[in-house]
């Protein structure tokens, strides 16, 4: 049996932890930050979206709260008071949770009031895992099209066409799900049908 009594233990434990901290805790993230900001500054900075004046209106990756009828609405959110990008969270409710069942029934009832004709997609009444889901399903977007078209005073066909331009398809046809980025879709609508033309009475 080899002896272990003479082998030092604490010196290598302390010294290596110090070196690892310098290398992995400081040098590594700083090196990645350096490369990232040189090569991919937009992504590294959070994929921020700016208006014409250069002011940040959001991140292309982070959902934001929409309630006005002329905008497409994202999914219900459990992050803070809804789309709080400093407090991501799902509801964590189990499938038989009474509050979950009541909440989805209430959401569905209000959706049914705005569009009686179409089936309600599941993502329209459920909260996402992050509470910051930037996307809705294409079916959810189409479901909301009549309301948006009416509120903006534009033909529904024009709104539907804008949706189709913003559908992201699965990679290679099977990786991920088809989806529509709500912020990008709403910005496109604002650009195409500027807000001052809204028919607020709609």
């Amino acid at each position: 049996m080899l002896s272990h009594s003479k082998t030092p233990i604490w010196r290598p434990a302390l010294v290596s932890m110090g070196l690892f901290t310098a290398l992995l805790g400081a040098a590594y993230p700083l090196a990645v930050t350096g490369v990232a900001n040189a090569a991919f500054p937009a992504q590294a900075g959070g994929s921020l979206v700016r208006d014409d004046a250069g002011k940040v209106v959001g991140s292309a990756l982070i959902g934001q709260a929409f309630a006005k009828p002329e905008y497409f609405h994202g999914r219900p959110s459990a992050a803070g008071n809804g789309y709080d990008a400093g407090a991501s969270s799902g509801s964590n409710m189990g499938p038989l949770n009474d509050k979950l069942i009541e909440r989805e029934k209430t959401e569905a009832a209000s959706l049914r009031a705005e569009n009686r004709d179409a089936a309600i997609p599941a993502d329209a009444v459920t909260t996402s895992a992050s509470g910051l889901d930037p996307d809705i399903s294409p079916a959810n977007a189409r479901f909301q099209a009549p309301r948006v078209a009416q509120a903006r005073g534009v033909p529904e066909k024009a709104v539907l066409a804008t949706i189709e331009q913003h559908v992201d398809q699965p990679l290679l046809g099977f990786i991920g799900q088809p989806r529509v980025n709500v912020l990008m879709l709403n910005r496109a609508l604002d650009a195409r049908f500027p807000p001052n033309s809204h028919n607020k009475g709609g």
């Binding site: 030092p8 990232a36 940040v56 499938p95 069942i101 993502d123 996402s128 895992a129 992050s130």
Partner: protein, 570 residues
Amino acid sequence: MNWQGWAEIALTLSLAVAVGWPLGVFMSRVWNGERTFLDPIMRPVEALFYTACGIDPKKSQSWHAYALALLAFNLVGFVITYAVLRLQGVLPMNPQGFPGLSGHLSFNTAISFVTNTNWQSYAGETTMSTFSQMIVLTVQNFVSAATGATVAAALARAFVANRGEGVGNFWADLTRTTLYVLLPLSFVVAVLLVALGVPQALSAGVTAHTLEGADQKISLYAVASQEAIKMLGINGGGIFNANSAHPFENPTPLTNLITAVSINTLGWAAFFAFGRMVLAKKDVRALVMAAFVLLFAGAAGVYATETQPAPAQVAARVDTTVNMEGKEVRFGAPATAAWVAATTGASNGSVNGMHSSLMPLGGGIAMFLMQLGEILPGGIGSGIAVMVVMALLSVFVAGLMVGRTPEYLGKKIEAREIQFSILAVVIIPLSMLGFSAIAAVLPEALKGLMHSGPHGLSEILYAYVSGTANNGSAFAGLTANAPWWDVTLGVAMACGRFLPIVAVLAIAGALVAKPKLAPTAGAMPTDGGLFVGLLIGVILILGGLQFFPAMALGPIVEHFQVLGAVQALR
């Protein structure tokens, strides 16, 4: 369910094996101290480590010395992490001005990151400063993963040796795994993730003025650099509360595929590295086969449960093809199902959908894969190590049936190896079920639950299963940041980590001294379909059967409640 979904699941899980194979060849070269293409960069750094630490990397240690070095290194990591978290408030790089963490939360978090569990009783973006994330948490992500890897390297040497003495040098294994495998790979994956949208910023964030005129504070961090090692190191502790469901950690289906593959690939690589070192590629292929069958079955099971009608969606009369509560639109059922299996089969614990909102059997499968002992493929090295323990128990069972002294990979398996094998696997149910039983009747513990009834029991069981298995995922309805939960989960994580590690190193110590036997016709073949079947049987009996009563009161009874509720609501 559709073909696209099955294709996505199959691709995600099998790509990890395919990538793991060449990485495993490379890993075995690193463990053997052979030359690699990274030598020009890393040799000088490695030499600096050895000089500064005052150790001779070529000096092989006894299993005692190896284990003591491992424990000392981890103790130092624990103390430093605890201290930094307690003192966070007075340390630099804290733009949000977060205060220091409480004693129990620091205790829990320090053990959690040192043991490669990365259970998080806290929400990252409202608790942790950039300094804490980088200087202690990111560092532990690396070195806890490397610690697990050293165990496999030592065990492999024990099988190779012919009447040998040492099992290798812990400091060399630790340093080489970190410098040659984890660091370069993480750097590449981190930069790739930034290119695909994951932020990497040192500022606290920005305030956006939304289209509807509200202010939205957007938290930013050095996300990509931690995300890469969080996956590759099979850690799982996210920067953000929502973990890999957060669009900043995992913005697209492609980042989801890359990170999901990263979860398992180094675990598989350790399998292949072990096989190459022991010159037992076929035997290890059998181990991979057994693990992959169970892993794929788990993913398929979750895909099936998540496409059953969810009661709330039935009640609301909306589309019921997918249970969308707690899922992201860009991932849907298949990418979430593949992730659930990948993260619980490996000891990762990151999530891209909320496990608490899975259908009851979906959440049950997540628990079940962890109960098997984190071997599908488990942590880097720790997975293959426990898998070998399962193989030892399998040949022992077979030996009992035919009345011969069992052999595995050229070593006689005798009483001492089996005693330590049992020790390694018995701690798992003891901690998981023991703590759960106490918590289920303790008012102090029950205060933290979000649900009552079967789902509440599942919250308890999931927490101790996840902690003991060093997984770190959760039924996150549980409010775990309270003294009872923080302390007991900390103890469960430490037991589930270090007792099996010491037991495996003891097995290595026993095996290394034995003569290496030439294969004989009388020994049971351990590379064929028969052995794969036997091994799967042993894994399922050890991991599954003893948990069945507890599972019956949690996910299984809840499943029947869901069926009843759906029928009543229709």
